[in-house]
């Protein structure tokens, strides 16, 4: 290396330089005693890298996650040792379960104080081992830059995920060499064998009722157009898991929507009716398949995944295609025959009709009442194709999955795998900062109460996020289960709190209003969508609104529940 490119820097400076070198433009975090050096280096690097200060480390981790979901870039979060690091844990686990690329950098106490229960010391690499793809404990300043590079490489290779780098304080302060390097490329992935590809092509060509089931892997790999062309070619239909939402425009006539527990009847039934299921970047999770013993009994299954451990994990498949799903898929797609399956088309069209009828049954006789469906009709009408939707977790999240209309990829940020209440606001802020586009956060009074402190962040950075708080005064999803499965024994789910979300939001310095009718909601939502900065709409809804249809846990599509009269 020519000496002019080599520089002596402190470990903290090396961290920031390496982040900049790896293309990072924004980081989320919260300072503290053991990251003082890193924050000093950030101060020095102002203008070259943007730091967003959140109200809590968990919010910072969710923001880095939301940032990644809408861009595909690696989200970066920084926190101090001890409580700072443990506050990241839920955010890291959320990213892990949804395969979101993230690099978390934590400070730790100096090497000489490690293992002594020193002030704010915690073994965060031990804590996060099960919830990261990999993690590092760095005790040598000269390994720092390459470790961070490797962390980025692991985070974005194959099935993405979070990587944590814990750096002791003495390493941050020590001087070491830094040499600028290129942005790391992901590791090369496995290439599927020709035999497996042949076998998949054979099954597809023989199939009379092909169903394409896509998940977060396909959504994240930018395969929308290729899958659409493939569906046209083989005359198949597409459904998705929760993580596959926003990968296909809802208006696309071959897209049947999300399947599973709260999914569309049509896509769930298509699994049962199909003779072949082609799973792409999807893990056949329990929420999407129901009881696996009753799942897709008539169908052969092809599964494409870059993660070898996903093949045969949840369902036994006939052909497992291991390796880069984009290249495997294009090899399969180009060799499949063009086909027509008029009978399948008639069957699916009938299922779509049934799906509509079920929804109509649910919405029947609601009169003037403001139902979740009506709320989403307004949201879909007012938002544009670039609007991002973030959610928390609960009934509002499932209503979003059922009713929100997406028109392009990467416009959805929601905790699917871990189901993290309190995820939404942080993620919405991260997603907005990443994209510059307006974000609508759909939340509930339960979830919002968990991390509403991030309103402070939204106000400080004037983030245009419209918060639609579906307020039913209860923990609606759990209450719904108590209604159906626990004989309405409402244990700890009716909140009956006196929180005034409008005043609360105003106290944080943001605008807010409360609405009780759908007309008021439309007016408020239109205003909010034009407002510069955060805006909360407290939407008062009926406590007995339920997410329907619903497949009971451990059940199958045959056990579908459609009745509205639950809590009544």
């Amino acid at each position: 290396m020519p000496t002019e490119y080599r520089e002596k820097m402190t470990g903290a400076q090396i961290i920031i330089e390496t982040l900049i070198e790896q293309g990072v433009t924004d980081v989320f975090g919260y300072p503290g005693g053991q990251v003082l050096d890193i924050y000093d280096a950030l101060y020095e690097a102002q203008g070259r890298i943007n730091h967003v200060l959140t109200a809590h480390e968990q919010g910072a981790a969710h923001a880095a996650d939301g940032y990644s979901r809408v861009t595909g870039k690696v989200g970066v979060v920084i926190a101090t040792s001890g409580p700072g690091a443990t506050n990241l844990v839920t955010g890291i686990a959320t990213a892990m379960l949804d395969s979101i690329p993230m690099v978390a950098i934590t400070g730790n106490v100096s090497s000489s104080l490690i293992g002594k229960d020193s002030f704010q010391e915690i073994n965060i690499t031990g804590v996060t081992m099960p919830i990261t793809k990999h993690n590092y404990f760095v005790t040598d300043v000269n390994e720092l830059a390459d470790t961070i590079r490797e962390a980025f490489q692991i985070a974005k290779s194959g099935r993405p995920g979070p990587v944590l780098v814990d750096v002791t304080r003495d390493v941050q302060a020590a001087f070491g060499d830094y040499t600028k390097k290129e942005i790391v490329e992901p590791f090369l992935q496995d290439i599927a064998s020709d035999d497996d590809i042949d076998e998949a092509v054979k099954l597809i060509n023989e199939s009379q009722r092909p169903y394409i089931y896509i998940g977060g892997g396909a959504a994240g790999a930018g395969m929308t157009k290729a899958i659409m062309e493939f569906a046209e070619k083989i005359d198949g239909y597409i459904g998705c898991s929760f993580m596959g939402l926003s990968a296909f425009p809802n208006s696309y006539n071959r897209f049947l929507g999300m399947q599973g527990m709260h999914g569309e009847y049509a896509s769930s039934m298509a699994n049962k009716a199909a003779d072949l299921i082609i799973g792409i970047g999807v893990r056949f999770s329990d929420r999407a398949t129901g009881n696996v013993d009753k799942y897709a009994q008539k169908a052969k299954i092809i599964q494409l995944d870059t993660d070898i451990s996903e093949i045969n994990k949840n369902v036994k498949v006939d052909v497992g295609i291991i390796g880069d799903i984009v290249s495997s898929f294009s090899r399969i797609a180009e060799r499949c025959n063009k086909n027509k399956h008029p009978q399948w088309q008639v069957l699916v069209e009938a299922l779509v009709e049934d799906s509509k009828m079920i929804l109509e049954t649910v919405e029947k006789n609601v009169g003037e009442k403001m139902t979740p469906k009506k709320i989403f009709d307004v949201i879909n009408d007012v938002k544009d194709k670039d609007t991002i939707i973030a959610t928390d977790v609960g009934q509002h999240q499932m209503w979003t999955a059922q009713f929100a209309k997406f028109e392009r990829t990467r416009r959805f940020a929601s905790s699917g795998g871990l189901g993290t209440m309190g995820y939404g606001l942080g993620a919405a802020i991260g997603a907005q900062i990443a994209s510059g586009d307006r974000v609508v956060l759909i939340t509930g009074d339960g979830s919002f109460g968990m991390n509403l402190n991030e309103l402070a962040t939204a106000v400080s950075y004037n983030v245009p996020v419209v918060i639609v708080l579906m307020n039913n005064g209860s923990l609606g999803m759990v209450r719904q289960w108590q209604t159906i499965f626990y004989e309405k024994r409402y244990s700890s789910t009716v909140l009956d709190r006196k929180t005034d979300f409008v005043k609360l939001t105003e106290a944080f310095g943001a605008k807010a209003c409360r609405v009780k009718t759908i007309d008021e909601f439309r007016q408020a939502f239109e205003t909010a969508m034009q407002t510069d900065g955060p805006y909360l709409i407290d939407v008062v809804i009926d406590i007995n609104e339920s997410v329907l249809p619903m497949l009971p846990p451990g059940g199958s599509i045959d056990d579908i529940i459609v009745s509205r009269k639950l809590g009544g």
Partner: protein, 164 residues
């Protein structure tokens, strides 16, 4: 239920053993034995795992191991072409009635008497796990005071060399 022997080549890095054993716990694998030790290359350690399970458990175990970043090679060892050894240290009650049988059995199993006190006889047995099982079986009625098995180490027979 079948018995599987899996050899794992891992980098000698921070927390590797914890990563491997943590994964077993997380995924609910029930491991029979696990040994870890140095290899011909100082940068790598070799872990030998024996597992009783079905084909699903075997496939998942191997695939989950492959995902761990510090794991370089995972190989299922075929029973027919694999040499397995285990070491047992066992202390048995030393009585006039016992003594001959302990010494005779040790002799038959090519085991070594490594310590002999008025109270106990300590024997070192090396062999295939079934030999160890049999030896323990024989000692049980004589009164086992204390024992310790190392767990299985295994190498494929000389023609098969792990591709590194």
């Amino acid at each position: 239920m079948k018995r599987f022997v899996i050899a794992v080549y891992v980098e000698n890095k921070y927390g590797v053993l914890a990563r491997v054993t943590g994964m077993f716990m997380r995924k609910g694998f029930n491991i029979d034995s696990l040994t870890v030790g140095a290899t011909e290359n100082p940068e790598y350690s070799r872990i030998t795992i024996t597992l009783n399970g079905d084909d699903y458990a075997r496939e998942q175990l191997i695939n989950q191991l492959k995902k761990l970043f510090n794991v370089k090679i995972v190989k299922l060892l075929e029973t027919e072409t694999t040499v397995e050894r285990e070491l047992l240290l066992i202390k048995v009650k030393n009585t006039t009635e016992n003594r001959d049988e302990i010494i005779n059995t040790a002799d038959k199993c090519s085991a070594k008497i490594i310590d002999n006190t008025t109270d106990t006889i300590c024997v070192e047995v090396t062999g295939e796990p079934i030999t160890i099982d049999a030896f323990i079986q024989k000692m049980k009625p004589l009164g086992i005071v204390e024992m310790c098995r190392t767990g299985v180490v295994a190498l494929e027979s000389s023609r098969n060399i792990m591709d590194k």
